[in-house]
Symmetry: C2
Subunit: 132 residues, 2 copies
DNA sequence: GATAGGGCTTCCAGTAACTGGAAGGTCAAG
DNA sequence: CTTGACCTTCCAGTTACTGGAAGCCCTATC
């Protein structure tokens, strides 16, 4: 099947699929007219990629995941370890964002937000305002 | 003062400071030997940049914030609106990450994580596993 | 048979915000 | 006078695409 079709089935832009090919994540066949030709298995891989990317795995992690997917002998422990490490990473990011949000809301709460030039947010950024 | 000194005072790498100059966020003077020469006010701006970047504002937002900082007549409402929009954006990101984390932990919980090749995480990525 | 359109191809460039490294000038200490 | 730290510029690389140009392929319609 052509790239447009595969793109639709995998919920990925065609551009992205070509990019994945460029970096060696997938190698579809070619039709006689030079068009890429995707098998059902190719589409399967693309979906795998789409899903793992949307779960926050980097491209390199997806590469590893795909090789585990291809390896019928892989240990589930390897995959579980990656997933758990990813969970921890996501939780660190969440904590960072929460503290960011708290700081910013505190700042905003202290700002009267009218037409006057006086602004505690700017003052804080300038290093002389409320401590969040 | 030299860039190394300014970098230390602003808690920013010298490389980053040069980059900020390149994109027009700051324009220090030059000493006779060609070295950049930072005034106290320059350091102030750098700190402002450091803090607003660390609060999650993009460079373009920092540019705007700096212009509000420079503008003694600006309305605090403008700044407050930016801060609140940023808070909303951060909260969206947090929610996304939380759902990501939940999906991944569910997956990991269903994985026995031993030496056997059978792995629900891979199965899910392949589109045939547990629904998280 | 000409043409219009949509899809496909390749290649080049740009994004955000730096970061690393090479080649070389400047300065203070020993 | 040399060593080492610090400074300069410029170029390249990072992540994961995305946009666009130039041009081929295929089908349908007039």
């Amino acid at each position: 099947m052509n790239i447009g079709n595969a793109a639709e089935k995998a919920s990925l832009p065609a551009k992205t699929i070509r990019y994945y090919e460029e970096i060696g994540l997938i190698t579809p066949g070619r039709a006689e007219n030079g068009y890429r030709d995707y098998s059902d298995n190719d589409v399967h891989r693309l979906r795998f990629l789409q899903r793992s990317r949307s779960l926050g795995f980097t491209i390199d992690e997806c590469r590893l995941l795909l090789s585990l997917y291809d390896d019928k002998q892989r240990a589930s422990a390897d995959v579980k370890a990656m997933a758990l490490e990813k969970v921890a990473e996501i939780e660190r990011k969440i904590a960072d964002l929460q503290s960011l949000r708290d700081t910013l809301s505190t700042l905003a709460r202290h700002c009267h937000g009218d037409g006057r030039p006086d602004c505690p947010i700017i003052d804080d950024l300038a290093g002389e305002g409320v401590s969040a």
